[in-house]
Each structure stands twice: as C-alpha cells, then as structure tokens.
C-alpha cells in the first residue's frame, strides 16, 4: 500500500457487499493502490498544468486580452485531475464554470502533451477562451460552455445542475447500445439546491444509470455559504434521499479524489447505479474575478487562510516525497502553491507545462474571429 490516505480511512466491504445505500465516507483503497509511479508523477504534472492555466489566464485578463468572467479553479484542481485520470475514452463528462481545465485534462493520462485525444485540445480550449473560430463551438457561447459530441463532453448552459438530466440521457442511450460508458458530472455544492438536480439524480437512481455526480463543495456559492443552501451535515448526504451511495473525498488530495471517484465510477460501470461524490475543498478567490474584492468582505480572512492551507500541489508533492517517487531536490524545483497570479512566474511551473499552454495560446491568437454573419447561422439543422 504505497499511498497514504490523508483521511482516517477505514476498510469498507467491497461494493457488491454494501447493501444499505448511504454515505460511504471512505472508499476502499484499491483504486489508488493501483496507481503506478508514472501515474502519480503525471497527476502531479497535471495539477501544475491546471494551476498554470488559471494563473496565466488571470494575467492575460489583467492585460486586457480576454473578455468575460474568470471562474478560478485555483485550490480545487485536485478534483479535476483526480476525477478525470481514471476515465476511459468512451466515458462522458460534463464540467461547469469552474472546471475549464477539465476540457483538456479529460483522458489526458500519459498523453497530455499530445494534440489528439478524447478531451479537447489545448488549442481548441484556448481558441474558445480568446473567442476564435477554432473553438469547438466557434465561440458562439462563452467560456466553459463548450463541449464535443465526438469527444464526449456535454455542453452546459449557464443554468446550474442543468446538464445532469442530459448526462443521464446520454448514458441511457449508451447502455441501449450495449456500451459501458460512465458519465461524470460536476456541480458546485450550491447547485444541489436546484430542482433539476433532484429530478435527474432521482431518475438515474430509479434506472441505475451510470451517472457519477461530483459535488465540488468549496463552501461558498457565490456570496452564500453552504449552510444557507443545504441543511445536511455533509452535502453528500443528499445521496440518502435517492437511495444511492454518497462518497466524501478530500478535495485537496488528488489521490483521495481518484480513489473515491473511481469507486463511484466502477460502481456505476458495473451496473449498480449512480452515486454522489462530495469533494471537500475551498474556493481560493472570489466567485469570479469580478468578485475578488468583495469575497474578502463577505468571507472571514481566517476562513480563507484556513481554506487555502492545504494547497493540492503541496499535498500531492508531500505524498510523492513520502512514497519516494521524487527526491527532496526535485520537490523544491517548482513551488507554485499558494501563489496568486500576480506572484507566480513561469519559473514556478515545469517548462513543459508552460510550453503546452503557450502552444495553445499561440494557436488561438492565430485563429481568426468568426465572421459576423455566423451570428445568423445554425439556428436549425437544414432538413433533408
């Protein structure tokens, strides 16, 4: 058992033996145990990549190069990296506003520097961010509202929790076709108050559909604390109302997220149905970049400090050190944790990470804006 769990993990009976649905705070360890050294280092790199994407975009925005709101995933990257790492190319995902890196991290295992993958390419994602024609949606909708039928990413609207029923339909169709795809949907804890969340998870529960609903519990929904949106001790308790498992993961620990999400994913894939995985984390900044200043008013400084204490990069690095996967010197090469965009420099990140994003940005800048006339196109598919 090479990896230490950061939580006080207790061995649970295997999934098939768990008959009473409800919270499973701790999944079995078997999924994280099967990660190789290469896997672990890859996940570490991906954390840097997600962080760098965020830091860089904030810089670009400050330079006036970007339009729209930045919803930072700073301090929450372990959820994306850990949840995406174990997916198969046939699996679907449905990220939300705070999950931009998910688009290129999807199915990035071992090949995140390659261009052709089951996720979107960094070129496509950057083209979207810069509003260019090479965005997969030709920049018709903004920011995180991209996706790809081919790459199995569901396009969200702004309406929170709105993709969960779509996700359920997608895997229902897959199951009809004899497939074994799973869909992983992402939602903030605040979004679990939406009616459609309930309708969709309930439907999935009734039909035992392979829908994994990740709750990124970053304690805040815009300016509203979790206690004003949810009265259960844990947001994962929502699962009890549907008769499905609810897992709780340490959202700062990429390996714990991997563990719990893979438990949920394989539970789903084996036909046992949907589940909820609450990943406990903390929103580092404002809701969006426009909210950074105010977020320091409606949130207690002590709470912010505490919430940012366990940076996912640092937590992962410590695990790798403990495992002997990196040396003390290697560990000190790139210290990105805790640094806001204004403090971080390219030197804080592995060069391949910087190069990777640069290649995307360069591509995007060379891509033209769509022609105005496109605004009038594609309202309907032309009939045969």
């Amino acid at each position: 058992m090479p990896l230490q769990t950061t939580t006080d993990a207790a061995e649970l009976p295997s999934h098939d033996q768990v008959s009473d649905p409800g919270i499973r705070h701790f999944a079995t360890k078997r999924y994280r145990d099967s990660l190789t050294k290469e896997d672990c280092l890859e996940m570490f790199r991906q954390l840097y990549l997600a962080r760098y994407f965020d830091v860089r975009l904030i810089k670009e925005k400050k330079r006036g190069r970007l339009r729209g709101t930045l919803y930072s995933s700073h301090n929450q990257e372990a959820i994306l990296v850990g949840s995406l790492f174990g997916l198969r190319s046939t699996d679907w995902i449905s990220p939300i506003h705070r999950d931009m890196p998910a688009f290129f991290l999807k199915d990035a295992k071992f090949q995140w520097a390659e261009l052709d993958r089951m996720g979107l390419s960094i070129q496509q994602v950057c083209s979207q961010v810069w509003g260019r024609v090479d965005s997969p949606g030709r920049a018709r909708d903004n920011w995180s509202h991209i996706g790809s039928k081919e790459k199995r990413i569901i396009h969200s609207t702004s309406m929170l929790a709105g993709t969960i029923p779509v996700a359920a339909g997608v895997v229902y169709a897959d199951r009809m076709n004899g497939g074994d795809a799973v869909v992983v949907t992402y939602n903030g804890e605040g979004s679990t108050a939406q009616g459609v969340f309930h309708e969709a998870v309930n439907f999935a529960a009734v039909h035992k559909l392979p829908v994994v609903t990740i709750i990124e519990n970053n304690q805040w929904a815009y300016g509203t604390p979790v206690r004003l949106g949810c009265a259960t001790p844990d947001v994962a308790d929502r699962a009890k109302g549907f008769g499905i498992p609810g897992y709780i993961a340490d959202g700062q620990d990429v390996f714990d997220v991997y563990d719990k999400v893979m438990s949920a994913v394989e539970f789903a894939r084996s036909g046992q149905g949907p589940s909820i995985v609450e990943c406990k984390t903390f929103r580092a900044y404002g809701h969006g970049d426009h909210d950074d200043d105010r977020a320091n008013k409606y949130r207690d400084p002590a709470e912010i400090e505490h919430g940012r204490l366990r940076d996912p990069i640092a937590v992962c690095r410590q695990s790798l050190l403990d495992l002997g996967y990196i040396s003390a010197e290697e560990a000190e090469m790139f210290i990105a944790e805790g640094k806001n965009a204004s403090e971080a420099t390219n030197e804080d990140f592995p060069p391949e990470v910087v190069d990777y994003l640069n290649s995307g940005i360069e591509f995007a800048l060379a891509s033209p804006q769509p022609e105005a006339e496109e605004g009038g196109m594609w309202v309907f598919k032309e009939s045969k």
């Binding site: 709105g162 359920a168 997608v170 169709a173």
Partner: protein, 337 residues
C-alpha cells in the same frame, strides 16, 4: 377470402389513432427511436396515444418516467445527443412549464451553440387546447412562448391525416419540435378519415387551404380551424366568401400561402385560442402588415382568447374563447370596411 385479404376495407381513423400509428410506425422503422414520458408504458398514456407501445418495443425503448418534466426533457436531449431519436410526452402540454428551462435554454439552442455539431431530433408532444372544461391547467395553448424561443419547430395539426404526417415529419426533421395535439380532436368522429396505406409525411412549413374563398381570409390552426370552417359556411349564406387557411406549422411558417390568399381577398382575420398579447395571431398580423401591407384593404383582425386564463365552468370558458359567432361578426365588419 383472398380478395378480402388483398383489399381490406379501409376504415376511417381518428386523430388519436393517426398519432398512434405515426409513433409506432416510426418506432418500427427506426431502431434508434425512444419514447419517454409519464405513464406512457404500462398505462399507455393518459389518453392512450402510446397504448400497446411498450408491449411492442419493450421497457427500454418506452420509458415510464418519474413525474419530473425537467428530467424528461433533459434526458431527451441526452438521448438525442448520443444518437437517438426521441418522442417525449407531456401528459398535458400545460405541464411543460415544469421543464421549461430545459426546453428553451438547453434543447432549443444546442444546435446553435455547437455551430451545428449537434442536432437534436426530439419531439415533445402533448395534449393541448381548451373548449373541454379542463380549466386553467388542462386547457393551455402556450405555443407563443416556444415561437419566441429560437431553435424550436412548433407544429399543430388539425386533422388525422396531418396529425400522422406532421408527427412523422417532425420526428425525421432532426430539430427539436414542440408538437401541440388538440385533445378535443382526439376522438372526434366527424373528422375521422381514411389514411394512406403507404408511408407519408406532411412537410413542416406548408399551410393547407381548407376552403377557397374570395372575400376574406381566415387564418387559423388546431381546433379553431373548425370554427373558421363553420363560420365560412354561415358567411356563405350571408353572401360572403371566406377562404380558410390552416397553417399547421407555426415555425416554420408558410407565409406564401397566406400572402397568396390575401392577394385575392385583401382582408384577413386570424383566429387563435391563446391569449392575445404576444400570441401567434399577432405574429401573423405583423408578418402580413410588415411584408404585405399593400394587399390589405381593411385592418387585419385578431380573434383570440381574452387575455385571461381558461376558466372552468362552461359559460365562463366560452366567454373568453373565440367562437364561430365572433368570427362571423368580424368577417362581416371586415368585408364592409
């Protein structure tokens, strides 16, 4: 015996049977088609439109959904996104409000925001319309909301032939469609008709001239077509020749047929049982006046429901709805203008 088998007696079929045939024939022809809705399986639907469907195609393709309209629409989108053709039933079209966001924001726009990568062959159909004592929540014609939400086809047949042909066309069209069925016509025997043996469709965006005339054009759809036809009969007795157009599909709209009629009559009355303000009657009036102003010899007229809900007891219900008498009176005024 052989003769009888090869030339069966053709029976007239009602509007409901026509819909049933459209669905089961499409299900048989398209293995990738799925139906979902409340009580559509074991029960066969509140009105029986899907009777027998689950027996024929199984529980996987004919899904009894929880009472959750947003999940029904959202799941339909997901099914279509992953390659299925979907028929989603609203038990009454009134309940579509509970899945409204999924319709106008998720489904209607999917093709647009993916620049055409994704198209969704989803028909959301359900019983609609008043005149039956259904009161506020079992009588609505809320088609205008969807006409004002770009990306949706909006269809409303008035005959068995059209019900079958338009539903098939909608299911094959590849775009999301809100399909308004007039429940008061479901079993109306007077309009039953013999349907073609062979597969056919009625193309979306093509109006039907139900009766030719020269003095005034009555434009309508759904149940009100029959009010117009009755009015035309009465008007004939009064020496007024009314042309009756059934537009059948609202989005897309067949403007040409309307304009061609107007070129003959130079007078138009639009009849529709939805509330007046921002309803589709106003849309037709606007199209006509902005695009064919010179054809008008008299002000166009809207005959619609008053801007009220549909009340329950009969006298109140009829008071707020278009009637043959209101059409006749308006037509007389219009031709005398």
């Amino acid at each position: 015996m052989a003769a009888i088998a090869s030339a069966p007696v053709q029976t007239k079929k009602n509007y409901l049977t026509a819909l049933k045939e459209a669905i089961s024939e499409e299900m048989a022809a398209n293995g990738d088609m799925v139906c979902l809705g409340e009580d559509i399986g074991q029960l066969g639907g509140a009105f029986g439109v899907t009777e027998g469907l689950q027996d024929s195609f199984g529980t996987q393709r004919v899904i009894d959904m929880p009472i959750a309209e947003a999940a029904i629409i959202g799941a339909s989108v997901g099914l279509a996104l992953n390659g299925k053709t979907v028929m989603a039933e609203m038990q009454f079209i009134d309940f579509i409000t509970c899945g409204f966001d999924q319709i106008v924001n998720m489904m209607a726009t999917y093709h647009y925001r993916t620049a055409g990568e994704v198209n969704l062959p989803v028909v959301v159909r359900g019983p609609a319309g008043a005149y039956g004592g259904g009161a506020l929540y079992h009588s609505q014609m809320n088609e205008a909301w969807f006409c004002n939400s770009p990306g949706l086809r909006v269809v409303c047949p008035s005959t068995p032939y059209d019900a079958k042909g338009l539903l098939k066309a909608a299911l094959r069209d590849g775009n999301p469609c809100i399909f308004f069925e007039i429940k008061e016509l479901y079993r109306r025997s007077e309009i039953a008709e013999i349907l073609p043996e062979d597969d056919y469709i009625v193309p979306l965006g093509k109006a039907a001239v139900r009766r030719e005339g020269t003095d005034v054009t009555l434009v309508s759809y759904g149940q009100n077509v029959y009010h117009c036809l009755q009015a035309a009969t009465e008007l004939e007795k009064l020496g007024v020749s009314a042309e009756v157009i059934d537009i059948r599909s609202l989005v897309p709209l067949d403007e040409e047929t309307i304009f061609a009629s107007l070129a003959k009559t130079n007078r138009i009355i639009v009849v529709n049982e939805a509330p007046m303000t921002c309803g589709f009657a106003g849309e037709i009036v606007s199209r006509v006046t902005t695009k064919a102003f010179d054809l008008l010899d008299a002000p166009p007229v809207r005959i619609t429901r008053l801007d009220t809900p549909v009340p329950w007891v009969k006298p109140l219900e009829l008071f707020v709805l278009p009637s043959v008498e209101r059409i006749v009176q308006s037509a007389l005024q219009t031709v005398r203008y």
